[in-house]
């Protein structure tokens, strides 16, 4: 039975709404941001094509150069600290849950709970917990006689960034545990049986069998952590404001981007500089995501 011709074209209506939303409000803005980075700006008006000038100014001209480098450095620290604080801890916990133990589901559920909160709630909640005079942490430290440990965690440039990274670890570690568990559970029993026949035990078993065979999930989590380190914004915004206080000690690229776009940083040229910064972040994050998707696909094939 042949359908009348006009019915045939109606089939494209399945695609149309998604395409309109996706192109109109995601792809067009992203391409515009890309284009904007190659133009000079006078306030909200696009002026003239200046090639890579915005990028060059961001890298070489004071004070942009200093702000950019400092913020980039903090993003790198963010990632480097999250690897042990979040990933290694989560891997250890995943190993424990994967071993012979009761209440696996309970632990999974409990570790996952923080992830249900909004980042803004987490930020505000911990700014109360970490308050120097009335916060729970310092009160508890004083109560158990560790008076000298009580300090303004978020108020001092030396501790503020690390404190925020630990809060971020608290928020995210349960999710990492779940991803690692998926990886660990996909290792077949036979591999372990075979290794045991070869008298491999404890640490050898872990380093030679478990870690290499769960490498795909380790890679994925490392890349996701890299991405989230370079996207981090809300948590720092909630705890330290738009300038990443105290004294810019917690400033990161996304905050600098926000200041360029929505406050007075960068003056009349701000949109050009901000767009250039957006493009830099976009390229970094897109590359990392592409790599992680490659690993994810490979993992799906391997097991």
């Amino acid at each position: 039975m042949r359908k009348p011709k006009h019915m045939k074209h109606l089939v494209h209506l399945f695609l149309l709404p998604a395409l309109v939303f996706y192109v109109g409000f995601m792809m067009v803005p992203i391409v515009s941001a890309l284009m904007n980075s190659f133009f000079s700006w006078k306030g909200l008006l696009r002026d003239q094509f200046i090639g890579l000038e915005n990028f060059i100014r961001l890298f070489t001209e004071s004070p942009h150069k200093e702000t950019f480098n400092r913020a980039l450095g903090h993003n790198v620290i963010f990632f480097l600290v999250l690897v042990p604080a979040k990933l290694m801890v989560a891997y250890l916990l995943a190993l424990l849950i994967n071993s012979r133990i009761k209440g696996k589901e309970w632990f999974k559920t409990i570790f996952f709970m923080p992830k249900l909160l909004s980042v803004i709630v987490v930020g505000y909640l911990f700014s109360l917990i970490l308050n120097p005079s009335y916060g729970v942490l310092n009160t508890a430290l004083r109560a158990i006689g560790l008076e000298e440990w009580a300090r303004p965690w978020l108020g001092h440039p030396d501790t503020a960034l690390y404190t925020i990274i630990l809060v971020d670890s608290w928020y995210e570690f349960g999710f990492a545990v779940l991803i690692f568990l998926v990886g660990l559970q996909s290792i077949s029993r036979e591999v372990y049986e075979a290794a045991k026949i070869d008298r491999a035990t404890g640490l050898t078993l872990l380093l030679r069998i478990t870690v290499p065979l769960s490498m795909p999930s380790i890679m994925i989590m490392t890349i996701l952590t890299f991405i989230s380190s370079f996207e981090s914004f809300e948590l720092i915004y909630a705890m330290q404001g738009t300038s990443g206080g105290p004294y810019y000690s917690t400033d990161v690229l996304a905050l600098y981007f926000y200041r360029l776009m929505f406050s007075t940083a960068g003056g009349g040229e701000a949109i050009g500089l901000g767009s250039a910064l957006a493009v830099i972040l976009l390229v970094m994050i897109a590359t990392a995501t592409a790599v992680s998707m490659y690993f994810f696909r490979r993992k799906a094939v391997d097991y």
Binding site: M26, L116, L128, T139
Partner: protein, 273 residues
Amino acid sequence: MAHRLQQLTKYVLLLLFSFISLYPIFLMFLSSFKTSQEITRSPLGMPHSISLDNFIEVWHKVQFSDYLLNSVLVSVFSLLIILLVSSMAAFYLSRYNFRWNGALLFFFMLGLMLPMKLAISPLYMQLLKLGLLDSLAGLVVVYVAGHISFAVFLFYGFFGTLPRDLDQSARIDGCNDFQVYYRIILPLMRPAIATVAITDLIKVWNDFFYPLVLIKSTGKGTIMYGMLRLFGEYDTEWNLLFSGLTLASLPMIIAFLFASRQFIEGLTAGAVK
């Protein structure tokens, strides 16, 4: 004996991290029942009486009911539109063989790699031109656009597991294309719909960035936007702050207690992104 010690160490570690995980949340709940004085004098102690005064006060002081309603509206509409348009697009991509379908799929997948927040300034201008700035509809449009990629990706994968014979036989029985989608495919995709719905619900409900940038008038804020105002205006009244945070988080926590497995599956499936 060594084995016992090993088991004991495992449980101690797991319980320690369970405590770390839950205590801040527990503290948030507990403190919402305390008076401001109780919180500052004995932050670790229990409340002297269980009263809902703080919640009632927050509810009235910062128009909490407005924020709650806005959050519900934005979440429900975003979710319905995402599910509808993405499942239709995925149906189109997996059930028809147009020669551009491969390229289209790749085009949709690009969105998984591109963080939309970095395009906020052109997006802002665009919503301004369309008169969607500072409106709930504007937020819905942004959330739909931002979540289509993931939903299409998941639905497309799910359709791959449904046999094509199914729609062939339905066609023979006289169903047209829309009836195949609506009567045959849609009812079968419930698990995939649940996964997408839960993942997107938690992301939309908890989002703070877009209301921060796109909403100007307090009457149009979502709950997370309300937190910004609460902390700006009542920063010394800790009892109100804690109970505000609790109220904002309660809906997702209650939903989680009812469907923890779906939540966990949904968000780990989201890990591809």
